[in-house]
Structure formats: structure tokens, C-alpha cells
């Protein structure tokens, strides 16, 4: 059987390796090589330029990116961690409702979220205007833009990472640990510092890592809000637009290097202090807030926070009813109707981007679904040489900023190669589905890994023992068991692919322009209502997916990160 088993493993690995090498490794290497070319000649001149005085903007952009990312981590932590503590440790009226609201930012796709923020707090944002009118001020009291704008958007969209990871970690802390520390004479502060905090470190590290990487890769927020402020992910885009692919490649390599070093550093840090929980979580017991004043203060804060959190969703919903031309010179929009939604279904020009996005996301996710299952199965259930290497390759698209993935594809597939079956892919329909596919491989593989690791090996053996061949076992036993995890991962990938902006903006063509590109077009034409309507479609899709995942697959929203 050894040989038969080995043969099966090899058969599984062939397509996996083909895809990973062809569409992940090869493009990355192409970018790497390109970064060492100037006018087609091998040289390190690009790097000299990057760090040298010739193009100061690059170095500045690098520092800005790191600076913004670190501040985003700090800000998100400052919001997310206290919230997690309050919701897991205290009970007060409306607790579970508020805790549900607290994760609402994740239903806004990044581009849509940034757009809503712009309308709310930007230079002619509704909130500053309203405050000005309300208090009869001379000028608008504030407006966000540049660094503060980016940071605010990052804090808003990324604090849920801290909130969710810390909440679930807190729920897993065995209360008896804290109680025994208290019992041994530790004060409240001592208990937190010596017991709770160390137990939370893995969660904090994971969340910091996530926020840092997402911020480094962040594209939509700088794209819309940066003004003259430079960040590296945006510089890549500008270099590409200016036709300087070699510089774009260099910038991509450097941006990836920073992201991946941070990832490695965090991994190392995490391994250094690994606190494994000896006992299973029993669920935190919450203290009831009894002091009536405190109780109502908390509820009030909860309501205010809820309004702030939901304002972007609300403005999106409201503006989506503003027809074209009804909000140009007026301070506030005055006409509301269903025109934008009607056009969506009647004007092919308006509908096409939606259709394109849906089709391309579907194709990509079908790929992710099949590839994810096979890859995850091989990684979790099969033994073979070089598994770690394969694991790293699978996770690479996760560690690479989206802009870099886009650049990789441009550089790899703007000429013919065996992996594109002798075609030039750039400029065709297929390049975008391919980009989405690569972007979301890690997500689907991870969610599948999670369910496969849960499944005991003896289940497969039992089927085999009862006479079932491998394929039969896989179809009738393994697949049905892992399907919920795979589907919830794939659905999440699907909605993210529908809203995907950074790779789209690098790779789209006129015929396959997706929603996000059309939103930009509409914004450029000051047709905010239509842009908002596109945003609402995405929000609706995400909401549906989350409900399906939760209701049918029993997947909690925090597992979908």
C-alpha cells in the first residue's frame, strides 16, 4: 500500500504544485527579476534610486507606510481591546446587541467604507457641515484628509480585528486562573498584568500582525484620501501608470519585504512565548453592572458608539437614493428616489460592472473552492517531503500586499508563458479572475484546514475499513464533513472578490471593469448616488453571506477573519 498511498499523494500534488508555481511563485520571481533590470540590463540601479537622493519620494513613502501602519495598530488596539473587555466581562442592558453592532465595520468593503467616510467627514462632508449649521459657525469645524483621514478609516475598519481576536481569547481564559491568582493575594491590577495579559499575548500578536499587514497593503484609503501624502502601495500604482514597470517592481519587492519581515518577526515572537491553555474555556462569567448611574452611562456610550459605527452604512444607504444631478451645488441632497437602483437593472452600462464582478468573482471562487479542498487535504492529511515549503507558498498571497499581487501578474503575464498556455493574459478578461483566485487561495485553504484538522483520521480509516475506496470515501465522507467550512470560506472570498479594488485597478480592461472601478468612475463624474448604490449592493451581498454562514454553517463571524 505504501506505494499506492504515495502514488495518490503524488497525483494530488501535481496540480497543486503546478498552480502554486505557475501563478504564485513564478509571478513573484518575475517581479523580483524585473526589479533588477534597468532598460532591460541587469543592474541594482533601481534600488540605488529607491534609497538614493534621486527619488526621495520613494523613501518617504516607505517611511509613511510604516508610520501609518504602526499608528493604525496602536489606534485599533486602543479601540478594540477595551471594547472586548467591556463586552466579555460586564453585563448591562443591550450588551449582546451592542456587541453585534461592534463588528459592523467588517461588512463595508474597504473602498466603499472609505467613500462613506469621505462623504461624512471629508472637506464638504455632511457631519462638519451639519455642525457648522447647527452652531452657526463661520467655517466648517473640521474635515479629515491626508494622514488623519487614512488613520481614521484604518482605525474604523481594523479595530474589529483586535476586538474579535481579543474577545475570543478572553472567552477562552479559564476564569479559575484569574480567581486562583486573586486567591493567592494578587490585586485586581496584578491579576490583569500577571495572568490575563500574558494569556492574551497570542491574540494581541495575531491582531497586531493582521492590522499591520493590512495597513501596509492598504490601497483604497490612501487612494481616495491621501491627497499629496505618499504611501508605498500607492507609489507602485503611480509607477505602473507612468509606465515605469521596473521601478514598480522594485517598490513591490521592498513593500513585500517589509510585510514579510514583520510577519516573520511576529511569528518568531509568538513562538518565543507560547502559552497554551491547559484547560478548555468555560466561558467568562460576566459581572453584572449594578450601579445604576454607571449602567446608564455605559448604555449611553453604547448608543453613541453605535451611531458613529453605523453612520457610514446609513449615509451610504441614504445617498444611494439620490439621483444623478440632485446633489451638485446644494449643501444637502434634497431629492430621493429609486432611480439609481432602477438604472442598475435597466441600463446595461450601469449593470455590466455588477455582472462582471459577479461572474469574475464566481469563476475565481470556483477555482479557490476546488483548489482549496485539494490543497488543504494534501496539507492536512498527507505526509510528504517539503510540506512546509508548500505551506509557505500557499500562504504567500496572503502575506503579499494586493498591489504587489497585481504587479506580479502584470510582469508575469504580459508576455506568453506556459502557465498562460501561450497567451498574453494581461488585457484579457481572464487576468482579473486569475488575480482574485490567487488573492483568495489562502483564505479558502485556511478555513478548510480548520475543519479538516477537526476531522479525526480514524473517520477516513473507518470508511476504508468498511470497504470504501479512497475516492468514494473522499466524496461520501470527507467532503460532506468539511463542506460547511469550505463553503463559508469560499463565500467570504466571493464577497471580497466582488469588492476587490487594488488588483482590479491595476489589471482591468474596459470590457471586464468590475464594480470597484465603476464606483471610481462615478465618483469622478460626481454621481455619488450611483456610487453609493453600487456600495449598497456589496454591503447587501456581504450581509447575506454572513447570515448564511452563521445560520447554515454555524460559523461565527470571528472565524471568518
Amino acid at each position: 500500500m505504501l506505494t499506492a498511498e504515495k502514488r495518490k499523494t503524488i497525483l494530488l500534488l501535481i496540480p497543486i504544485i503546478f498552480v502554486l508555481v505557475g501563478y504564485v511563485l513564478y509571478p513573484t520571481i518575475e517581479t523580483f527579476i524585473e526589479s533588477f533590470k534597468q532598460n532591460g540590463i541587469v543592474s541594482i540601479q533601481n534600488y540605488v534610486d529607491f534609497f538614493g537622493p534621486k527619488a526621495q519620494a520613494n523613501l518617504e513613502a516607505l517611511w509613511n507606510s510604516v508610520y501609518i501602519s504602526l499608528l493604525s495598530v496602536l489606534l485599533s488596539a486602543c479601540i478594540g481591546i477595551p471594547l472586548a473587555f467591556i463586552f466579555t466581562r460586564y453585563n448591562f442592558p443591550g450588551r449582546s446587541f451592542f456587541s453585534g453592532i461592534a463588528i459592523m465595520p467588517i461588512v463595508l468593503p474597504s473602498l466603499v467604507g472609505v467613500m462613506a467616510f469621505m462623504w461624512l467627514y471629508g472637506e464638504v462632508g455632511l457631519v462638519p457641515l451639519a455642525i457648522q449649521d447647527l452652531f452657526n459657525l463661520e467655517e466648517v469645524p473640521f474635515s479629515i484628509g491626508g494622514v488623519t483621514g487614512i488613520l481614521l478609516v484604518h482605525a474604523y475598519t481594523m479595530y474589529p480585528y483586535f476586538y474579535m481576536t481579543v474577545s475570543s481569547a478572553l472567552n477562552n481564559v479559564d476564569p479559575s486562573l484569574e480567581e486562583s491568582a486573586a486567591n493567592l493575594g494578587s490585586g485586581r491590577f496584578g491579576v490583569f498584568w500577571k495572568v490575563t495579559f500574558p494569556l492574551l499575548t497570542p491574540a494581541l500578536v495575531a491582531a497586531s500582525l493582521l492590522v499591520f499587514m493590512v495597513s501596509m497593503a492598504s490601497f483604497s484609503a490612501p487612494f481616495l484620501l491621501a491627497g499629496g501624502y505618499r504611501v508605498l502601495s500607492l507609489q507602485i500604482y503611480f509607477s505602473k501608470i507612468n509606465g515605469d514597470l521596473e521601478m514598480a517592481a522594485t517598490q513591490s519587492v521592498i513593500l513585500s519585504a517589509v510585510s514579510i519581515s514583520f510577519l516573520l518577526f511576529m511569528r518568531w515572537f509568538q513562538n518565543r512565548r507560547d502559552y497554551r491553555m491547559g484547560s478548555k474555556g468555560i466561558g467568562a462569567h460576566r459581572s453584572e453592572v449594578n450601579n445604576p448611574i454607571l449602567k446608564w452611562i455605559m448604555v449611553t456610550i453604547g448608543i453613541v458608539a453605535m451611531v458613529v459605527l453605523l453612520l457610514p452604512h446609513a449615509v451610504l444607504a441614504i445617498l444611494s437614493f439620490v439621483p444623478e444631478g440632485a446633489w451638485t451645488w446644494q449643501k444637502y441632497p434634497s431629492t430621493f428616489n429609486l432611480e439609481n437602483y432602477r438604472l442598475l437593472f435597466e441600463d446595461p452600462n450601469i449593470w455590466d460592472p455588477v455582472r462582471n464582478s459577479l461572474i469574475m468573482a464566481f469563476v475565481a471562487c470556483l477555482g479557490c473552492f476546488v483548489f482549496g479542498i485539494i490543497t488543504s487535504y494534501a496539507l492536512v492529511k498527507r505526509k510528504f517531503f517539503g510540506k512546509n515549503l508548500l505551506d509557505i507558498l500557499v500562504m504567500l498571497p496572503w502575506a503579499l500586499p494586493a498591489t504587489v499581487v497585481g504587479m506580479n501578474l502584470i510582469l508575469a503575464f504580459n508576455s506568453k508563458s506556459i502557465f498562460s498556455f501561450g497567451q498574453v493574459l494581461v488585457g484579457t478578461f481572464w487576468i482579473l479572475p486569475l488575480a482574485y483566485f490567487i488573492r483568495f487561495i489562502p483564505l479558502v485553504v485556511r478555513s478548510t484546514n480548520a475543519v479538516l484538522e477537526q476531522m479525526d483520521d480514524s473517520i477516513e480509516e473507518a470508511a476504508q475499513n468498511l470497504g470504501a475506496r479512497w475516492l468514494y470515501t473522499f466524496r461520501r465522507v470527507v467532503l460532506p464533513i468539511i463542506m460547511p467550512g469550505v463553503l463559508s470560506g469560499t463565500l467570504l472570498a466571493f464577497v471580497q472578490a466582488v469588492g476587490e479594488f487594488p488588483t482590479s485597478v491595476l489589471l482591468y480592461t474596459l470590457d471586464n471593469r468590475p464594480i470597484s472601478i465603476e464606483i471610481m468612475n462615478q465618483l469622478r463624474m460626481f454621481n455619488l448616488g450611483q456610487a453609493a448604490a453600487y456600495g449598497m449592493i456589496q454591503v447587501g451581498l456581504i450581509a447575506i453571506v454572513m447570515i448564511i454562514s452563521y445560520k447554515f454553517f454555524g460559523v461565527k463571524s470571528e472565524n471568518t477573519l
Partner: protein, 361 residues
């Protein structure tokens, strides 16, 4: 009916030798148990019979057929896993029917046979339940039914009762035995629990670190252990090193400071590299408040009395308090309990003293 022959089997995982030069023949219809401490290679051996592992060297035969490298799905064995390994997404019926569907049995026949076997394990009323809605004991029965329904040539059970509580364990023990007798299937049962092994088995193979130490019926294993490991692992015993001097058959036990008389003495040639131990079961030791006559009599002081319900364990210090003997007696009421600190006489009856070689390390 199928006999299983394992000849000269060795299984290595990298540098670890999990099973070493194993020779076992299991007869048709026999209830055969692999008994041994955890990590001694029982599961590995069972999995080689099921086909999940192939031996590094040696042969596995079912009757006369060489099965050494036949893949598991072609062996027609029925295995019950320690964690049951039920298919979580299927009902009880679907779980049990799985093996029949694989065998392309027609629908009516599947239904009849599944209902039949569920009747036998008293699970008929639960036929349409999701398996996650069953208790541990019920899941265990489903696992059994699923293995039995395919009418396997050999039934393989890997510590099937270790996840159940004590009361349920007793019940399932009888249940498994009843079904095994009813179906008359050759059964191989893996356990580290000596009580299970002694009560259920026709024959037992005692394992220690990859080696089979002894094969025999429960009474042989218990009463005539071949070495100190078997004596100590199966049941309770008092085990002390004994020495004999060259040229004589006399045995002397330092721990007891006693010239030992035993009916089963050492027959072998003298060899100073070989070590021996004497083993006396706690229930075989005679005690008396009055002076005892005969061989192997010692004077002792009662150190500790433990009451367990059905029996009373007394720990008696002998040889001036240097050695403790464990003595077990049935509970015959409070008046018979020994008092701690009492002095009394202890006899190790020569027909109950067994001299065994020390197992090789």
C-alpha cells in the same frame, strides 16, 4: 470463519521499533486479546491486521491467504475504533448501512440487514437519529453494529470501552461477548485493562515494549505467568528477588530473609547472569493470629488496612519492618478486620509461590 497468522512481524517507524518479531496464531472464532501497557505496540499490531500499516518484515495471513500488503478496503475486517469514528454527518441508519452500500447490496436487503443488526444491539428505536444525539454507550453500539453488519471475517476492537464510564463498561463488555458468540466471528480485542482481558478472552497475548511476553488462556496467564512482567502486570502480586547459590536448588529471598520453598522450582541449569523473582498473589497468603506451622512462615505487624467494599487489603510489615506484604481477603464483616499495629503470623503457601525469571530489559 477465519484464522489469523502473524509470522515474525516487525514494524518500524523511523528509528522506533513499535513491534518486534511477533509470532501469533489466532484460531477461528476465537476471542483473542492483546493486553499490555500503553505504547507497547498493540494498536500497531491491530492496524497491521486491518491493513492501515504494512509490516516492515514478516507476514500477515488470513487462513492461507497472504494479506501482508493487501489494502484495507479489500480485507473484509470490521474495526471498532477507540473514538468510534462514526460519520458525523449521517444518521444511525446511514452509518450502519455504509459498508453495505459500498458492497452494492440492494436497497431492500440493506434495510433488512441494518434493522436486524440494530435490533441485536438494542438500537432499533434510534435508527433515524443523528449520531451526535446519542450517548457514549449508544455510539459505541452503532460502531459495533456498523462493523458487524458487513459480516466481517475478523472483528477488530481497539480499546473500545476506554471512553465509557465504569458501569457502562461492564454492560458493554457483556454485550460485546454476547454478540461475538452469536456471530461466532474471530475477534481481536486490544486493551490495557487486565480485568477486561481476563473476563472476556479465550486467549490473551501479553505485550511489553513491542514484544509478546506470553500467550495463554486467562487462567494460565494469571496463575502461571512466564516472567515477572506478566506476573506484575496481570493482577496484584508480591514480587521479590530470590537468589540461589551454585550447586544447590535452595532459594533465598533477601527482602523477606527467608529460605523459600516453592512447588514450582527452577528446573534450569545454574547461570549466574539469570535473575529470578518469587511471586505470591495477595489473596493466596494465609494469615493467623496464632502460630503457624510449615514452610515459608513469617512474623509481621499490620501496617495499614484498606477497605474497598468487597475485599479488605492489609499491608503487613515483615522482616523487622523492612518489607511490606500485601494481603487481600474477602470482606467477612467488621469482626474479621485486622487492627493496625497487631502482630501476627503470615504464611506463603509453597503451592502458591511461583518462581519466575526476570524479563529481559
Amino acid at each position: 470463519m477465519t484464522a489469523v497468522t502473524l509470522s515474525n512481524i516487525t514494524k518500524q517507524f523511523g528509528d522506533v521499533t513499535a513491534v518486534k518479531e511477533l509470532d501469533i496464531t489466532i484460531k477461528e472464532g476465537e476471542f483473542f486479546t492483546f493486553l499490555g501497557p500503553s505504547g507497547c505496540g498493540k494498536t500497531t499490531t491491530l492496524r497491521m491486521i486491518a491493513g492501515f500499516y504494512y509490516p516492515s518484515t514478516g507476514k500477515v495471513k488470513f487462513n492461507d491467504r497472504d494479506m501482508t500488503t493487501v489494502s484495507p478496503e479489500k480485507r473484509n475486517t470490521g474495526m471498532v475504533f477507540q473514538n468510534y469514528a462514526l460519520f458525523p454527518h449521517m444518521t444511525v441508519f446511514e452509518n450502519v448501512a455504509f459498508g453495505l452500500k459500498v458492497r452494492k447490496v440492494n436497497k431492500g436487503e440493506v434495510k433488512r440487514r441494518v434493522e436486524d443488526v440494530l435490533e441485536k444491539v438494542h438500537l432499533k428505536p434510534f435508527i433515524d437519529r443523528q449520531v451526535s444525539q446519542l450517548s457514549g454507550g449508544q455510539q459505541q453500539r452503532v460502531a459495533l453494529a456498523r462493523a458487524l453488519v458487513i459480516e466481517p471475517d475478523i472483528l477488530l476492537l481497539d480499546e473500545p470501552l476506554s471512553n465509557l464510564d465504569a458501569r457502562l463498561r461492564d454492560e458493554m463488555r457483556n454485550e460485546i461477548l454476547r454478540l461475538q458468540r452469536e456471530y461466532g466471528i474471530t475477534t481481536i480485542y486490544v486493551t490495557h485493562d487486565q480485568v477486561e482481558a481476563l473476563t472476556m478472552s479465550d486467549r490473551i497475548a501479553v505485550f511489553n515494549v513491542g514484544n509478546c511476553q506470553q500467550i495463554g488462556t486467562p487462567t494460565e496467564i494469571y496463575n502461571q505467568p512466564v516472567n515477572d512482567f506478566v506476573a506484575e502486570f496481570i493482577g496484584e502480586t508480591n514480587l521479590f528477588e530470590v537468589k540461589r547459590s551454585e550447586g544447590s536448588l535452595n532459594l533465598f529471598c533477601d527482602a523477606l530473609n527467608l529460605q523459600v520453598v516453592a512447588d514450582s522450582s527452577i528446573q534450569e541449569e545454574f547461570d549466574e547472569n539469570k535473575r529470578f523473582k518469587m511471586s505470591v498473589r495477595p489473596e493466596a497468603i494465609a494469615i493467623s493470629k496464632t502460630r503457624l506451622e510449615g514452610d515459608n512462615v513469617l512474623v509481621g505487624v499490620v501496617d495499614l488496612v484498606q477497605f474497598t467494599g468487597e475485599s479488605v487489603h492489609s499491608f503487613i510489615k515483615v522482616n523487622n519492618g523492612r518489607t511490606t506484604l500485601k494481603v487481600t481477603d474477602l470482606n467477612r464483616g467488621p469482626s474479621t478486620y485486622l487492627k493496625e499495629g497487631f502482630e501476627l503470623y503470615v504464611q506463603l503457601p509453597p503451592d502458591q509461590v511461583r518462581i519466575v525469571p526476570v524479563a529481559k530489559e
